[in-house]
Amino acid sequence: MSDTPFSRFLGDFRKNKVATGAAIVVALIVVLAVIAPLVTPQNPYDLAHLVLRDARRPPGYVGSAGYTHWLGTDSQGRDLLSAIIYGLRISLQMGVIAGAVAFALGALVGCAAAYVGGRVESLAMRLVDLQLSFPAILLAFVMAALFGQGRSQLILALIFAQYAYFARTAHGAAAAERQKDYVEAALSIPLSPWRVVFKHMLPNSLPPLIVVATVQIASAISLEATLSFLGVGLPPSEPSLGMLIANGFQYLLSGRYWISIYPGLALILFIVSLNLVGDQIRDQLNPRLHR
């Protein structure tokens, strides 16, 4: 079947050059992050490989191990290019895992609340509203401070800060779908509540959720970077982009700009690309722009 909704979606997507470019950048970053150990000259987390003599060298410096540090080195003598690719790998991991879990959790809470209706719905959505009224960074900060440092703790904090956005969006979409005839038709057969929620309401509530997902993955990544920058994220032995930026911060005024600037640029490029892709998906899925 060539005329599936998905193939038409892809065809429309390709018409926007900027978004297509952004999608390619995202794809490149994802591929780089996945195969990081194969392409980087150095494992930046393996302390045995770090040579302190090579610390804070400018871009283009040929290090003691014999290869060129194209983006320079950081204060511990890490190759910055390798550190950035590994940092993107961590960022992506955090963003995708936290985003996916928050997506699933939020979609479930939102759709179930819309299906059940009544007081359960009101209670669940007021709780979500309550949580939305706190800034995500504050919530993540508290969670990170409570659970301590480490990858799983950080993911937990990100999920907790983000699922409410998905729940709110899923609820809005699902509540609208709940009123539609095809849901009533499913109830009329009757199909089980699980089937109505997962097979009927959820797939039709997906478009706005996908849009939120692209934005929220980007925001999870920047949230992780922020937390790491502030020192409540990942441990210093596994520097993510946020920590690389923080580490380089103190050298910025002394002219060693590359330690902060290049990780910052990588982060910006990734987040902007993700957002561009998200915007295009939103535009395409917005029914108001069609007919």
Binding site: E184, L187, S188, I189, L191, K199, N204
Partner: protein
Amino acid sequence: MTAPPFSETRSALLDVSNLKTWFPGDRGEVRAVDGVSFSVSPGEVLGIVGESGSGKSVTGFSIIGLIDEPGRIVEGAIKLEGRELIGLPQEELRKIRGRIISMVFQDPMAALNPVLSIGTQIRLALEAHERIGPKEVRERAIAALAQVRISEPERKIDFFPHQFSGGMRQRVAIAIALLHRPKLVICDEPTTALDVSIQAEILSEMKALVSDLGTALIWISHDLATVASIADRVAVMRSGHVVESGPALAVLTRPQHDYTKTLLNALPSRASPGELLLRSAGVPDAAPPARKEVPDDVVALGSPYLVINNVVKTFAKPAGLFARLQFGLAGAKPPSASNAVDGVDIVLNRGEVLGVVGESGSGKSTLGRMAAGIIAPTSGSVRLAGQPVMSSGTMPRKVTTRIQTIFQDPFASLNGRMRIGEILSEGPLAHRLISRGEAPNYVRQWLAAVGLDPGYANRFPHQFSGGQRQRIAIARALAMQPDVVVCDEPVASLDVSIQAQIINLLIRLRSELDLSLIFISHDLSVVRHLCDRVVIMRRGRIVEQGAAEAIYARPQNEYTKRLLAAMPMLPRSVAGLEPATGPL
């Protein structure tokens, strides 16, 4: 080929000749209007009839110069009192629009601005073409409202659109259209969204108004009967062409063109009850798959089967602070908790077709959803063969598969993300009526039984037309092997020829499968055609019920009488009622 233009009266007010309005599409130009010619004399009512996609609305929009890019008028002439309108700059057109030609649209809620009071909207319309003082504006506005028979116009002038009913809103829209005493008013399906009784009022008032003011009227509609009751002359349109035109009575009683004949023969009001329409159009040859097992509590045909006992459904009122503020500001009372259905008893006999008739707000759809087990009644019970249709408890669920539902809008009732095969097999699989291995064949059999290609199972709903979708929806309901089917306005959103096919299909499948139907409709002629017994509902209660023939022949209740009288009727071809001969 285009039909010959209308009679060439020298005093034609509007003369449209060889009009072509095209829209660029994915596969070449869409010729929405493709060589249409007609003329309208002062004071004359021209009805333009056609099914969806016939180009009737685009014709109207072309005349008033409201064709949106990228659509364009490719060729032709539109002459208003001899002056060519095509190619006039927007500035000039604006001087004509509203003053010389005005338009009334289908949806009065969308045509009126919800944040401006009626008085303000009338003032803006007046000031668009005249310089007058505030005092005179108010007088003129009040007079305009009085003209369309809105009571207490002095008070209502400060109302906002949401404070009016649909019929009242349409009256306001008509009042605005008539403000400047235009020479021509174009009405595009102005009564389609309204109840029959309101429609009848507006039709007769509109007729009186245009003859009083000497205004010419172009009445665009899909409904032959309403056109018959207002138009002097009729043009029948199909795929961008006028296929037949002439005096209304002549066209509607002695149609010449095959398409006009098809349209007329598709109407249930012109056939005897229960008869297949259009020489059994759209009735498939394939028989539906046999039912696996017949439950042992199925009663004999004609015995009471589905018993609806004193059901009440109350919807909670908006009680929040915001709702109260909103109504407080508007000076209206908040709606109290009202019973959408207020104590209804119905007994459906097995094998019977029961019509439920009512206008919007009568509670007929809510009753249907309770009968089908989609929503739980606030009180009362629905039982099928003695068994409750829904479980009890805080979250009641439907427990029987033997009642199924067909919905009004086939574009909304099919899940657009599922393939047809899955839509049809999902329910039967979930309830083990069929096994996974049997599913593809079962789906094919049902597609054939509703007159669709069995190879459609892999397609998505968006690849089908409205009529085809409704067939799929019927197959979905019947694939559950039900005894009772609740049909909620199943043909209301379809064109007449498609409507005829779906009615035929229902007639055939019903007799083959011994189904009992609850047929909910606002269309009295469809109900008469299909139903053995009829229930008339108003404001959540039954006002009259009985055998269909008896109700239509001798209505007892005042409301039923009014409803029947409001039903627009086509002229019957009666000998001696032939129209005057004239140039066609």
